[in-house]
């Protein structure tokens, strides 16, 4: 299962502050504008991820057994 498209989005998230702002406001729209081709479950996941979390806050969520 290739995660190439997701990897590119994450790279853009890290390197592009304007893209980060767009993702926080409208993740589906922001990704659609990049032309990325995601799998159906990846599209569904997109709008359920809390893109406002900082790296440290996200690390705090890594608390599953």
């Amino acid at each position: 299962m290739s995660r190439e498209a997701v990897g590119k989005l994450i790279d853009q998230w890290i390197n592009d502050t304007e893209f980060r702002r767009q993702m926080r406001a409208d993740p589906t729209g922001a990704v659609q504008r990049t032309g990325a081709r995601l799998e159906p479950d990846e599209w569904a996941a997109l709008s359920n991820v809390d893109w406002s979390l900082s790296d440290e806050e996200l690390r705090g969520r890594a608390n599953f057994l």
């Binding site: 299962m1 479950d41 569904a44 359920n48 969520r61």
Partner: protein
């Protein structure tokens, strides 16, 4: 699979909520009864009881406990009442136990309750639990013979898939530079299949249609895969022991990060991984690089993808309430974003089942 010795407490996240401990006790009473009924002699009974030590306390204090909750909730989502599935949860508990012991053996782990027992005895216990007690537990279920034959086939084929996943996992670890896709596939094979078996057996026991059984199995597979990936993130980013780094076990965040590095950066990262086996500062530096490089965020996204896959399969299985809601809660327990509710009709609050691929994509 989520191992017993990496137990972490996520209080208040079990759909069984207040009655969880009593349900777990009931399931383990059934397991102990199976051991007493079927052990061929006193020595074997004592060995099997030793194998059980540690699992019940783990089940009572950890959340979620998939081997208890998933069979009960799937059965309840089909038939309305989960209680008749307690003996099935006992069978699932035995399956988990046998696989967990084999996993410990593969990892070189040796929980303290095995003190005084030889490697051969531990292997024997795992084989007895998995190959004898689990099928016997299924055989004891109150179901028509043809349904039990189908369930035994589900168990056998599922175990073969799990074994293939375990085999991939072992060979993946031996390779120096494993791809993220290989790791994700091995996790799906090993941990995904285990929960697929639990869910499929419950659906079959509840006399679900073949199509429903497939949907529940797919739900379990996605849930098990996401849960293991979330567990790997916990081990890497939160658990002070960081056993995967110490053992040099390649997990998804590591592979994803490595794949996105260029030549010199990748070589430096490889050297850091080697140092991390013995050096806490190197382990801290790996965590820092993974977080800054987006590895954790990407894993969180992939776990969310698994959650969405599980929810989609559940919706196609046409579960009934309130079991459906409890299953959605269980699926949500793996997510980094538990407060973000799955797609629901904003007016009626009803769970929205996507009808077409286009509609799924729009969501």
């Amino acid at each position: 699979m989520m191992k017993t010795d990496t137990a972490h407490h996520r209080q208040g996240r079990s759909p069984l909520a207040g009655e969880k401990v009593s349900v777990v006790e009931e399931v383990f009473a059934e397991v102990r009864s199976l051991v007493r009924r079927h052990a061929a002699d006193e020595g074997q009974r004592h060995l099997l009881e030793t194998a059980l030590m540690g699992l019940e306390p783990h089940a009572c204090r950890s959340e979620p406990v998939f081997f208890v909750e998933l069979p009960l909730l799937v059965y309840g989502a089909i038939r309305g009442d989960a209680r008749p599935a307690v003996p099935l949860a006992a069978a699932a508990t035995l399956l988990f136990l046998g696989a967990d012991i084999f996993d410990d053996l593969a990892d070189g782990d040796r929980p303290v309750h095995w003190d005084g027992r030889s490697h051969a005895e531990i292997t024997l216990a795992a084989a007895n639990v998995l190959c004898a007690l689990t099928p016997l537990a299924l055989d004891a279920l109150p179901a028509p013979p043809e349904r039990k034959v189908a369930m035994q086939a589900t168990l056998a084929t599922g175990l073969l898939r799990m074994s293939a996943g375990q085999h991939s996992d072992v060979t993946v670890r031996q390779r120096n530079q494993t791809s993220a896709a290989d790791i994700e596939a091995a996790v799906a094979g090993k941990s995904g299949e285990e929960l697929a078996i639990f869910a499929a057996l419950a659906a079959q026991f509840a006399a679900a249609s073949g199509e429903q059984v497939e949907h529940y199995a797919a739900m379990g597979r996605a849930l098990g895969t996401g849960a293991q990936l979330a567990s790997d993130c916990y081990e890497l980013f939160t658990d002070p022991e960081s056993r995967d780094l110490v053992h040099g076990t390649p997990t998804l965040p590591i592979a994803l990060h490595r794949e996105r590095l260029g030549g010199a950066e990748r070589e430096a990262f490889e050297a850091l991984l080697v140092r991390a086996r013995t050096d806490e500062a190197a382990r801290g530096e790996i965590r820092r690089q993974l977080i800054a490089g987006g590895g954790l965020r990407m894993c969180a996204f992939i776990v969310e993808t698994c959650r969405q896959g599980a929810l989609r399969s559940l919706a196609f299985a046409n579960p009934r309430e309130p079991g459906a809601g409890a299953l959605r809660e269980l699926i949500g327990s793996i997510s980094f974003f538990p407060l973000n509710l799955p797609s629901a009709d904003p007016v009626s609050g009803a769970w929205h089942k996507p009808q077409t691929q286009e509609e799924q994509i729009i969501r």
